[in-house]
Amino acid sequence: MKKMKFSVYRYNPETDNKPYYKDYEVELEAHDTKLLSALIKIKDYQDDSVSFRRSCREGVCGSDALNINGRNGLACLTDLAGLKEPVILRPIPGLPVIRDLIVDMTQFFNQYNSIKPYVIDDRPMPERERLQSPQERNELNGVIECILCACCSTACPSFWWNPDKFVGPAALLHAYRFIADSRDQASSLRLDELNDPYRLFRCHTIMNCADVCPKHLNPTRAIGKIKELMVSRAV
């Protein structure tokens, strides 16, 4: 049985004056390959006060984004093998901490809601569903897989400085997802709403977002495509 050391960010606003780190040593069995298994072991067998979010434990729900040894990622997709010890676990940066590894995602989802994350089509409803050709559907590959885990936005310095005004890579990826959707009829409106020195243009192409995305998506590229569309409608 292998042992691994963890140092976990702890903060309970009701009892702690300030955050601190608590160390744990976890005995791992052969089937404990992902970081989430170790966290669950800590909670189940050592300290049930450790708080974190998780649900699907297979990279689908997007709830267990953490800052792992200084880098954002999903606990359930991060291999324990190869992590430098002690593994330092912090909440994803830039958002208010509710408790331990749980952050308040309100600002993140406010930005997501601000891009109108739904197909806008005021034309009369067809008798059957609105169809897409396979080519039109292909346009959505590489953007539609986003699980809104916030790894990218909370790794983006522009989002740290202006989370209330800069839409952030995750929501910008979704903005492009609806612009690229052949069924959506509001591309011009969407571009108008992004033509703002903060909302889109706070992105300085630092590419932290593409670097950390656990689903291997590239928000920077989506942002580039939005800018391209703005150029093509202006010149």
């Binding site: 601000s114 108008d192 992004l194 033509n195 703002d196 020195p197 909302r199 243009f201 300085h204 150029v231």
Partner: protein
């Protein structure tokens, strides 16, 4: 005032495009300038007067002036971005924007005096 999520100032794109275009202009100028320096470094006949003659040519003056204009327009977006990122108070931000514009505009006028 009611707290609203307000969006769409309507000018971010133009500033962004302005920054890209002026960057290209500055790059082209820098390359031409370096080539000139290089040529004169290997030319035994080059002297201070040959440089002076070069910069007395109206076409060269226009090119240099365009370069300075590009620098000022480029710097405006860059400096404005810094204030936007780090200054939270709107009054302070607006004051800094105005001071930046005055300073850059002054520099541009001074560049006209130097070049022509």
């Amino acid at each position: 005032m009611v707290k609203r999520h307000i969006t769409g100032a309507g000018f971010g794109f133009i500033s962004w495009l302005q920054q890209r275009i002026t960057a290209v202009i500055m790059l082209i100028f820098a390359i031409i300038f370096l080539v000139c320096v290089f040529i004169s470094a290997f030319n035994v006949n080059s002297s201070i007067t040959s440089w002076q003659n070069l910069f007395n040519c109206t076409l060269v003056k226009i090119v240099v002036q365009i370069f300075f204009l590009a620098v000022v327009l480029h710097a405006w977006v860059g400096i404005r971005d810094i204030w936007m990122d780090y200054v939270k108070c709107n009054a302070v931000k607006l004051t800094l924007h105005i001071l930046t514009i005055l300073w850059l505009f002054g520099s541009l006028i001074y560049s006209i005096k130097v070049i022509w």
